[in-house]
Point group: C2
Chain length 164, copies 2
């Protein structure tokens, strides 16, 4: 019994360490966005422990309103994996995704979503909208919010403070 509990704790700790490692990578992407004057949000797409795609918000650079970090890594993921469905992938993103990005996550059948800071105004997982809770949704996925929350919040709050 104690051995089983120890194993479980070991597994959970290992998952947290992995999640924080990839969220650090997403945070680096967010910092790149900030230095380009873009909204500082970064994302990383993982499959089987490998990084499939990493990118950051580039709406202004690309003249593309859809060029959020999540959309860019999902599109790159489809290209790399040669499929328009991306099961068994994990998407890390520094801020809770908006309705467009949550829609793309379900369209792409992403297996797991890990995000950092909640987003009150447009967050579509647990804050403003709860699109993934809809019983009619084709697709179910595992969601973990709040990983490196403080760091992820600080970079985006700092950006908007600077623009006021």
């Amino acid at each position: 019994m104690i051995t089983a509990a120890k194993e479980l704790i070991k597994r959970v700790v290992k998952e947290v360490v992995i999640d924080e490692k990839f969220m650090e990578m997403a945070l680096k992407e967010a910092k790149r966005a900030a230095s380009d004057g873009e909204v500082p949000i970064g994302a990383v797409l993982i499959k089987g422990g490998d990084v499939i795609a990493r990118d950051h918000n580039r709406c202004m650079q690309l003249n593309d309103p859809t060029a959020h970090a999540e959309i860019l890594v999902i599109r790159e993921g489809g290209r790399v994996l040669g499929n328009y469905r991306l099961p068994e992938t994990t998407l890390y993103v520094t801020v809770e995704p908006c309705p467009m990005c949550v829609g793309a996550i379900t369209q792409g059948r992403i297996g797991r979503l890990v995000y950092g800071a909640p987003e009150d105004k447009m967050g579509a997982v647990s804050s403003k909208f709860r699109l993934l809770n809809d019983p009619g949704l084709h697709h179910r996925l595992e969601v973990n919010g709040g990983i490196l929350k403080r760091e992820c919040s600080e970079i985006i709050q700092g950006f908007f403070r600077g623009r006021r």
Copy 2:
């Protein structure tokens, strides 16, 4: 008074004629998608009476879960107009957009949305979700649904019947 009423009717009739003309164009795009084995939905983006972009669903062809007709014309619109905001454009699409596409429409600040058939399972304007009604939304746009509804419904229903 009668003259004013006549003018108003003339204006409304003219708008309907224009809307049907561009929806016919979107339907042609939907037919192209069908002949490629893609979900038959087409879209056209207009500004000042000019066609800025026209395309159809190409998720399988491009290995891209985000390659819905609406997303493709919005991305092309940003490229053509050299901006990540697309105010004063009208987006025509044969089927009510899903949450991803409604999100992209608001991100892109599209001025007007005209759609054909309602979509019960994922429609995010008036059927399944009502994302545009949210009081917190930054962006307001004019919406017209049901233009060439019968033709737009037939092509998508025929496609899914054929796949069963």
